[in-house]
Symmetry: C2
Amino acid sequence: MNIDCPLPSEVEETIHLGHGGGGEPSQRLLHEHIYPHFNNAWLERPHDSAILPAQASALAFTTDSYVISPLFFPGGNIGELSVYGTVNDLAMSGARPLYLTCSLILEEGLPLTTLDRIVASMAQAALAAGVQIVTGDTKVVERGKGDGLYINTAGVGALVSQQRIAPESVSSGDVILLSGDVGRHGMAVMAKREGLEFDSALESDCAPLHEPVLDLLANGISVHCLRDLTRGGLATALLEIARAGGLQMHIQEQAIPISDPVRGACELLGIDPLYVANEGRFVALVPEAQAADALAVLQSSAVSAGARVIGHVRAGGASGLILQNALGCERILGFLPGEQLPRIC
Amino acid sequence: MNIDCPLPSEVEETIHLGHGGGGEPSQRLLHEHIYPHFNNAWLERPHDSAILPAQASALAFTTDSYVISPLFFPGGNIGELSVYGTVNDLAMSGARPLYLTCSLILEEGLPLTTLDRIVASMAQAALAAGVQIVTGDTKVVERGKGDGLYINTAGVGALVSQQRIAPESVSSGDVILLSGDVGRHGMAVMAKREGLEFDSALESDCAPLHEPVLDLLANGISVHCLRDLTRGGLATALLEIARAGGLQMHIQEQAIPISDPVRGACELLGIDPLYVANEGRFVALVPEAQAADALAVLQSSAVSAGARVIGHVRAGGASGLILQNALGCERILGFLPGEQLPRIC
């Protein structure tokens, strides 16, 4: 360290419009700040598309744009979120995640060191999830037309089972399994954004979920439906399945694990934890006869070690979601009328 | 028309943060403004991923984010651009475009009528290009954190030939074919943005390019490399191929078609048309022996009816791009040092 020179010798390098023009600065951005992180054979020979080997199975194809604010939050950042989010969407279709794209919308003025940290985090997440980031795109917008950066990832996975994992496959009697405690991602982001301090650490649950899903299928569980509990949380995910499949679902409030810091933050902010976004939790709907086996499989993966049975699908009645509290009182849960936690993913 | 009531009875409906929350407004946005346009079997049963049938061939996989400003420009809008741009990236790999995703980042305050027009245009473009929009995502950011809307599309296509269409396949003697006049897209957008008026209509060339490419392959042309001439235009596209393949390319200035309105606008604004973005033009590098056949195939498609031979790849020498003018003088073309036309795609 040179203590004679307390001031930085150069102004911090930031993104400018030229980085999005396709010319020399674009080339340098790619070759110095993007490709080195995603080091793989596809990017060594960049072309308009990546060429993927033929797949014998059907494919799952998905996309998500990530606009989370702030970019860094307790337990993660937008980079790993953009990888795990898309990996998880593929997993929820019963697919082994294989290939991802990475498309960046950068705001003029974003420090290159911030970009580097985020891209490095994407690369690390891809490694953890066993996927390759094979192609991408980078655009730059003027200051005040973005918010640091937005990331889109699209993903392709190979279906590992013939069974259709979808709301239509759910039938009455099916058991609803939840992979762990809910509400951590949304409340960690909210706490950071609002500058709230809590006694206990409040960290996002951001994590890849393909492992427990592939384990369920490998163990012969007839998985009827899966859903990760992102925007809108547990309640919205179950409602979507109920509505799409014409099903009535019953869940027990006291069976749903919620950590003390999440419960505390939710009470403070007046937010229902059942509607708070998660990025490392999912529900699995399985036949009653296989519920115990499925639970054991889930509990054997670290990411779903806290799995529980939280309810079941009941025959007859209007489609919807019913919550029973500890006293046995029932309450119908609906979609949220508005937005309680904007930009949590 | 009710002439007794000149004022609209309701405030124009616009996007609000609730449309991005996953709750009731999100559901309505999808079911009233998105799915009806993209009407297909995948979206009737929306799930986390779309399930695509197994493909016998290798796949091309690509993505692009579109941040063009303004959203509507002479000859097109961001919606059709986002479909054709990704369709064209797939075509440039020698693939038949099949499936697209559509991910929207909407700015709070965007009129729903604007969204409707753009999504309808995407649907029409998908129909024209023979692709299905099978899955998507919608996010909303606060006013001042976007610019109306940004669109990401990712695409999957099936390779139609075993030959590797890439810079490494180009060899000395190869002929460079250009599919038509250059510079229209970038100059149409610039003219609109700057409020310039020209005598002649200046319209974007935005169009799908899969047809002439598939025709080349169906006619047995050994296509060595293809590249659409988007950001950075003709010069940047050829330079990228030259650099990636270690090639020296020579092109003739007078062989490159440029319309009078484009030439006029470029002179007025001091812009080199060879670096201006196109959205319906490409180069094809083919063996000299097949150049005449390839040219005839290209000229038989409406979108590439103005195809010409503009140069060739020369053995030896440093890799790069050399432009010869009408007087026989040669000039080395490099990557642009900065950005001349921000946000043209």
